[in-house]
């Protein structure tokens, strides 16, 4: 059987002429019952049109509504102020919203736009008090990005936590049938908008992992008819092969300082072990050395420990290894299957793929202080959980509908979203770090 070997197309840069790719369509399926009511008035200078992807107020409304933590009022206003001085507090007395957002988008010459916003609490005083505001001058192409930044600022002011509206997700999209499948590593905004492929291949791609500066993605590719690890530059599409040893080359994970990669290599052995690679010199350090399956390394935020999946105790469980002393402790105990570990940025919560019995795999969180395990999804057909940089949300792959889609769940399980793809099957999501 002659196998046709097709070259991988390292694809066009993200800033190039956009080809229209079908976006993932985000849908909130369960929000908080205690969602904060907030009124967001259409910004002066842009007519209220939620189909206009550059409509700043619409993007902020969607961001905050889809966070599951806000109940957004976007219409039925008695007045349309665009700045605090235009606000008549009497007109807002009967409104149930706790807070009000107003703003404007006005041409600033040279193709640029000036975007202003102000956030004011309602029903607290007779005069509008601004608790957050900012002003941006940007080209039209940056209006959506600016809206996400404003969402981040509002979110942070009202919840005390950093928003992830300006982050991205990477994922693998698989299209086609049988022997003619096409695999794409894509990057989209966290709301599924603006997907762009950075690698296209006729052979599988898996395990994308972002560098801490958000500029690169490491991943596994089978384009050479064996597993190899590559690092691609997200903006340019340029890439380098960093690992193509005999056997398994898998599960790349950047260190917090971006200088090293943890990875799983089997070399000439029967099972993979955990290694780190110095990215400048390509020198390898072996961290585990036993006959069990050791894979899926993930660095702790302090850079001195690595959590990983091992079946040394029988089935897959999570272990924590101290890089200096090489001492290893088991940290997952509930359920017969715990894999794909990642730690929140405060190092306190472990997010895992968790199985308790039968064929069901769901996302679970493990409180590392108490050991308490909480299962936060219920579809039973989950894989590849990846935690957001603010530690509040987890994106994962779900095959329960028959075609792979992504889901997002809050760390406490109370907020749920779907991100189905209109075409193909989506898998292996990776949430970016905070970006620029």
């Amino acid at each position: 059987m002659k196998k046709v070997m097709m070259a991988v197309m390292a694809v066009v840069c993200l800033s190039c002429q956009p080809i229209s790719y079908a976006a993932l369509h985000i849908e909130l399926t369960q929000g908080m019952s205690s969602a904060i009511p907030i009124a967001i008035v259409p910004f002066k200078g842009q007519s209220a049109d939620s189909n206009d992807s550059k409509n700043v107020a619409s993007v902020i409304q969607s961001d905050l509504q889809n966070s599951g933590q806000f109940k957004v009022q976007a219409s039925n206003f008695k007045q349309f102020p665009s700045s605090p001085s235009e606000v008549n507090m009497d007109a807002w007395k009967d409104v149930s919203a706790n807070d009000l957002v107003v703003g404007s988008v006005t041409p600033a010459g040279g193709g640029q736009f000036k975007v202003n916003f102000s956030l004011m609490p309602l029903n607290q005083s007779d005069k509008p008090t601004v608790i957050a505001s900012d002003s941006f001058t940007v080209p039209a192409s940056q209006l959506r990005k600016t809206a996400h930044r404003i969402s981040d600022l509002i979110y942070q002011k009202l919840t005390g936590k950093r928003g992830v509206f300006s982050t991205r997700i990477a994922y693998v999209l698989v299209e086609g049938d049988g022997d003619h499948k096409r695999y794409m590593l894509e990057v989209s905004d966290a709301d599924g908008f603006n997907p762009r492929p950075i690698v296209v291949s006729n052979e599988p791609l898996m395990s994308p992992n972002w560098s801490p500066d958000g500029r690169k993605i490491a991943y596994v590719s089978f384009e050479n008819r064996k597993a190899s690890i590559y690092i691609s530059d997200v903006a340019s599409g340029g890439r380098q092969q960093v690992s193509s040893f005999p056997g398994i080359n898998g599960a790349p994970h950047f260190s917090p300082d971006g200088n090293k990669l943890a990875l799983a290599l089997s070399m000439d052995g029967m099972t993979p072990n955990i290694y780190t690679m110095n990215l400048a010199t390509k020198a390898l350090t072996q961290l585990t050395n036993d006959g069990s399956i050791n894979t899926e390394p993930a660095w702790a935020p302090n850079g001195s420990q690595i959590v990983f999946t091992s079946n040394r105790g029988g089935g897959p469980q999570i272990y924590k290894l101290d890089i200096g002393s090489r001492s290893t402790t088991r940290i997952s105990f509930d359920g017969h299957y715990n894999a794909t570990p990642s730690l929140t940025s405060d190092g306190k919560t472990l997010v895992v793929l968790h199985g308790e019995g039968g064929n069901n795999y769901d996302v679970a969180t493990i409180d590392l202080d108490s050991g308490a395990t909480r299962v936060v999804t219920q579809t039973g057909a989950v894989s590849a959980p990846s935690v957001a940089p603010n530690g509040q949300m987890v994106v994962y792959a779900d095959i329960s509908s028959g075609r792979g889609s992504l889901g997002i769940v809050s760390i406490d399980g109370k907020i749920k979203l779907n991100l189905p793809s209109p075409v193909g099957s989506v898998r292996e999501p990776a949430w970016s770090p905070f970006l620029g």
């Binding site: 059987m1 049938d177 049988g178 599988p204 898996m206 395990s207 089978f222 008819r225 064996k226 597993a227 056997g247 398994i248 898998g250 599960a251 799983a264 089997s266 029967m270 099972t271 993979p272 399956i293 894979t295 899926e296 999946t309 079946n311 897959p316 299957y337 894999a339 794909t340 793929l353 199985g355 019995g357 039968g358 064929n359 795999y361 057909a381 894989s383 590849a384 095959i399 028959g402 898998r427 292996e428």
Partner: protein
């Protein structure tokens, strides 16, 4: 004619022996892929291990005659979470080993595969274990290491596209592919 019948009986006996050997290995309920019963056979219950009924799966034949053809690409199925090679495949592996040993230019690719459930990277390791088990069986029959290439695809390249027990059973496999004959 008689020879054919004897051959068939020998094969069936071998199959029966290996099946009852299967049912004696410990399994718990969660390990069961598709369950099926040998009708009227003194209550022996067996695991379904893919069709093995002569049907072609992804271009691989599964009939007894096909499996014994040296130089023909093969697909071997595995139980959930297991990587031991079933005794029923030994005659087929021997036929392939004999072919490789007697054809100096022959080279084999073994791909290790799993069903889609669970962690993709952990599945790469499970698929690898399965492919290496088949590699060991070939090496024990005299095939040199240089003649065999091993790649694990884990759950990345399923032969069956469904999401049920039947598809999962088909996807737990090692494929033996002649890269050169």
């Amino acid at each position: 004619m008689n020879y054919h019948k004897l051959f068939k009986i020998a094969l069936l006996t071998l199959a029966a022996v290996s099946i009852s050997a299967c049912s004696s290995t410990k399994k718990n309920a969660s390990d069961m892929g598709s369950s099926s019963y040998m009708g009227g056979n003194g209550g022996v219950s067996t695991m379904g291990l893919g069709p093995d009924d002569g049907q072609s799966i992804g271009g691989y034949g599964t009939s007894d005659a096909y499996r014994l053809k040296g130089g023909a690409n093969q697909i071997y199925f595995f139980d959930f979470d297991q990587s031991n090679v079933h005794e029923k495949y030994i005659p087929s592996l021997n036929a392939q080993a004999n072919y490789v040993v007697s054809h100096p230019s022959a080279r084999i690719l073994l791909t290790g595969n799993t069903d889609e459930r669970g962690s993709s990277e952990y599945n790469i390791a499970l698929g690898n274990r399965r492919a290496l088990a088949v590699q060991n069986a070939l090496k024990s029959q005299g095939v040199a290491s240089q003649k065999i290439r091993v790649v694990s695809y884990g759950s990345e390249k399923p032969v069956a596209q469904g999401h049920d027990d039947k598809a999962w059973a088909l996807n737990r496999n090692v494929q033996l592919i002649y890269e050169a004959k």
